[in-house]
Symmetry: none
């Protein structure tokens, strides 16, 4: 369908679109085009299989050059997320976990509210063939999934980006007068700060043989990260948590541990907590 | 994105998708795939340029064979519309006329109402290059157009069909915010469990002389509890936190503490974190 009017304002703002190990340049190009159609411009590529830049991507983008030219490449997903405050992971598969699962409409509304509130946001999309790993999903704040025909649920990556970009644009039109959903007196943490909390706690636990048996460690780490990330802690909360962990980790007790009511149940709870979604 | 489950119900009902003089078989195939993704099945082709059937269409449809096999070919648009009760024409260009112009959401709601009422409906899409003629649009009851970036408004035909099919599927869900699956239900914690977390962490810190100088302890405890309580943790989250604290508190390190990047800043942060809201 035609209708482009290059005289008119080029909208280029909003969440970053993060493609994890995209395989085909054509798909990256179609993603760029879909983004441009609905006013998104920031494309982040995590180790694209066929390298970057890609002429196939540029031609498939049918003139969405501002998106192609502005694309950034990262070696790891963590690097691609560090400066963001709030991130969605897209998935078609059911995940057993604790992250809230949102529809595209709800996700777009949340992204718009955070955008208006000055936060940096992103939406992660997985590989063409098999999407995102659980470890990758664990790095997101929430999950977004699409209402599809159960017997024919496979969306290609460009279609998935198109739908999220379309909902993003709609979310800006439905209520122009929308104000931030909350005036944050505390700055939301960046993903880098969240990853720092992960590493810090995991190291302190690992140093004590907490992750046992070894083959269960990845699952236990997933569960721990799910709990630590689902609340999108503020900078101040993360620094308080880290101060607590650091103090207990670094300094020895000066008196024996008491038998606090609920202490052991807490311990049990931790175990069952880790098992509950294996 | 994967997630197709062929065991599950194949939804195949709703408006007919009518493509007027489609040029590329690949596009017809991608249209069929988009329809199948969102439960549509009736495809009507008005004199496809490269003829029909088309192997290119079948392969681009990635297994939406029920749509490809059921496609009907017509010589004229009039023939393709004869048995329908209500038809939308899609266009990106502004048309001067008396036909109501609707958004995809409104159009999908209208189509759903008529479907439930037993009417036969359809959505017309124009040629890849230049869309529908005014004469063709004149055959429709209403116009539907997409909210796009004014400076980058060109949607390809498969994208346009995808968006309308997606809105059609959403219109059939009682709750637009509904998702196919949900995160695990978690019980909110009781105050007793929250207090247990307070005591547990405070004791572990106190045993290490964390609350120093003594006269500052009440304020430091206040700040700590403020952070620990403002998120209303679930039972499961509290037990995970307690498991973490308990493990670090109770068991000694088996290896020295590394200098984690951000670890000390975490420490600093903790101090300033506690001071920041004194």
């Amino acid at each position: 369908m035609s209708g482009t009017n290059s005289e008119r304002e080029l909208i280029a703002e909003g969440p970053a679109i993060i493609l994890v190990e995209p395989q085909l340049g054509e798909n990256i190009g179609m993603v760029a085009r879909a983004m441009a159609n609905f006013g998104l411009a920031e494309l982040r590529l995590v180790s694209p299989r066929d390298g970057w830049p890609s002429e196939k991507a540029r031609s498939a983008a049918s003139k969405a050059d501002h998106v192609i030219d502005g694309a950034q490449v990262f070696d790891t997903l963590e690097d691609a997320l560090r400066d963001l405050n709030f991130v969605y992971a897209t998935t078609a598969r059911e995940r057993y976990g604790f992250k809230p699962v949102r529809s595209p409409v709800t996700a777009a509304t949340t992204l718009r509210e955070k955008f208006v509130g000055g936060e940096k946001t992103g939406i992660m999309f997985g590989r063409e063939r098999w999407g995102l790993t659980n470890e990758e999903v664990a790095l997101a704040d929430e999950i977004v999934t699409f209402p599809v025909n159960p017997a024919f649920a496979s969306l290609n990556i460009a279609q998935a980006v198109l739908l999220m970009s379309y909902e993003w644009m709609k979310s800006g039109m439905e209520d122009m007068g929308r104000t931030p959903f909350q005036s944050l007196e505390q700055r939301p943490s960046t993903k880098e700060q969240v990853f720092g909390l992960f590493e810090h706690i995991e190291e302190a636990l690992d140093a004590r043989g907490y992750f046992h048996p070894p083959e269960k460690k990845p699952k236990m780490v997933d569960n721990l990260r799910a709990v630590l990330s689902r609340r999108s802690f503020t900078e101040q909360e993360i620094s308080v948590f880290r101060g607590v962990i650091r103090s207990i980790d670094r300094f020895p007790r000066k008196r024996p541990e008491p038998l606090l009511a609920g202490n052991d149940s807490g311990g049990e709870g931790e175990t069952s907590g880790n098992d509950s979604d294996t």
